[in-house]
């Protein structure tokens, strides 16, 4: 049987259909969680926020106007909640020691370069990009968002989305060069 599209699921969710909500959650919760985890850098916080994001989807489904894709909408909610949580944590300086080491590998790209292959160095360098750069790289490469969708999620003009990704890639090349990998670009 053909699967419901996201838009069809949202329509059913707007009519309080819990089975549609379960299907929507199963389809997207991992990518939403990973997106937020990279921002908040704490698994428990990301899990709490994940529940909140999907609860907002449940409550606001009847107001979804379809001007963007459902995933873009959900990721926009996720980003807003994650950034708010980071801001709250920064203001109250709560438990900085619980930040996951997952996001900040102990080995620098230089050390990785000495003992590993180029792909591993590239992964290490990606993890060392600034928050803004890493977010846009992730949205384009992992979530496969269009220019318009990226601009909507990050709340920036489309041209800024294009140049930000360009500079993120340029920075990545610089990090690779520092780690001894010359890509011949830029």
């Amino acid at each position: 049987m053909a699967q419901d599209t996201d838009e069809a699921l949202i329509g059913r969710i707007a009519r309080r259909d819990q089975s549609a909500m379960r299907a929507f959650y199963e389809r997207h919760h991992v990518r939403v969680y990973r997106f937020m985890l990279r921002i908040v850098k704490n698994e428990a916080t990301a899990e709490d926020l994940l529940s909140d994001v999907f609860y907002d989807v449940w409550r606001q489904a009847d107001r979804f106007e379809g001007r963007s894709s459902v995933v873009t909408w959900a990721l926009s909610i996720a980003r807003f909640k994650a950034l708010s949580a980071v801001r709250r944590r920064t203001e109250t300086s709560l438990e900085p020691e619980i930040e996951s080491e997952l996001m900040d590998p102990a080995d620098t790209p230089e050390i990785v370069a000495q003992k590993a292959d180029k792909a591993e160095v590239l992964r290490a360098c990606l993890s060392r990009l600034s928050e803004d750069h890493r977010q846009i790289v992730e949205l384009v490469y992992y979530h496969e968002m269009s220019v318009q969708e990226v601009a909507e999620i990050l709340q920036i003009p489309e041209n800024t989305a294009k140049t930000r990704l360009f500079y993120a890639r340029k920075r990545l090349s610089e990090l690779l060069t520092d780690a001894g990998v010359d890509r011949g670009w830029p």
């Binding site: 959650y25 985890l37 899990e47 529940s51 609860y55 709250r88 997952l102 384009v140 294009k162 990704l165």
Partner: protein, 219 residues
């Protein structure tokens, strides 16, 4: 030098060309450009390398546990239960479905008349039978307790009742509704509404108790 703006739109769009997220017109332009320019084709290969690495980084990130799912659907179930008509409301819905209920206007007049009768009877009874003074007003405990912070709490299925009672007493808490499906209770904490910060702290505190499976705010 690194601040120089890129000269070519084609260069900017390479990542979206790789992921197939361009308009048809842009796609055709990029296709022609990469075909005729070997350097651009080489840069497209770099984009593919980056995309592969970013996907690997993301997919190496663990998936969430089942906790957020449980919390989400407990919240939804509790919310739905709270909105379901109860008692007379349910009966009224059933009667209305069967076309057995009078119109809204007729019903309103009937209810108003009934209320008047009850009020007159109550006045007569209180004045002539009990002799109570008018200022001896009866207060329910719930009207004062309703100012606390309400959370939806799921207790561990094996949690002994005496431990739940001790938990409630330690936190000046009262079960005000439930259990809903999934063993969810609406629990009121304290006697005043909390600020966002206080609520977050309370949730964190309650969550750390071993017999609590999960806790979420109630709206």
């Amino acid at each position: 030098m690194s601040d120089e703006p890129p000269v070519d739109e084609v260069e900017l769009l390479l990542p979206w060309f790789h992921t197939g997220r361009l308009s048809e017109e842009e796609r055709r332009r990029l296709e022609a450009a990469t075909r005729s320019n070997p350097e651009l084709a080489r840069r497209l290969a770099l984009v593919a390398e980056e995309a592969r690495a970013m996907t690997q980084v993301c997919e190496a990130t663990p998936a969430p546990s089942g906790r957020p799912r449980d919390a989400l659907f407990a919240r939804i179930t509790a919310e739905e239960a709270a909105h379901k008509p109860r008692g007379f409301g349910r009966l009224r819905g059933w009667l209305a479905q069967g076309g057995m209920l009078p119109s809204q206007t007729a019903l309103a007049w009937a209810v108003a008349g009934l209320a008047l009768v009850v009020l007159v009877e109550a006045g007569v009874i209180s004045t002539y039978v009990t002799g109570q003074r008018r200022d001896e007003v009866y207060h329910t405990a719930s009207s004062e307790a309703s100012a606390g912070e309400k959370l939806l709490v799921g207790f561990a299925p094996e949690a002994p009742m005496r431990e739940i009672e001790a938990f409630l007493s330690d936190h000046q808490a009262t079960i005000v509704d439930g259990p809903h499906s999934g063993g969810i209770y609406a629990v009121r904490f304290g006697d005043r509404p909390l600020s966002d910060e206080e609520r977050t702290r309370l949730i964190g505190e309650v969550k750390s108790v071993a017999l609590v499976r999960f806790v979420v705010p109630s709206r």
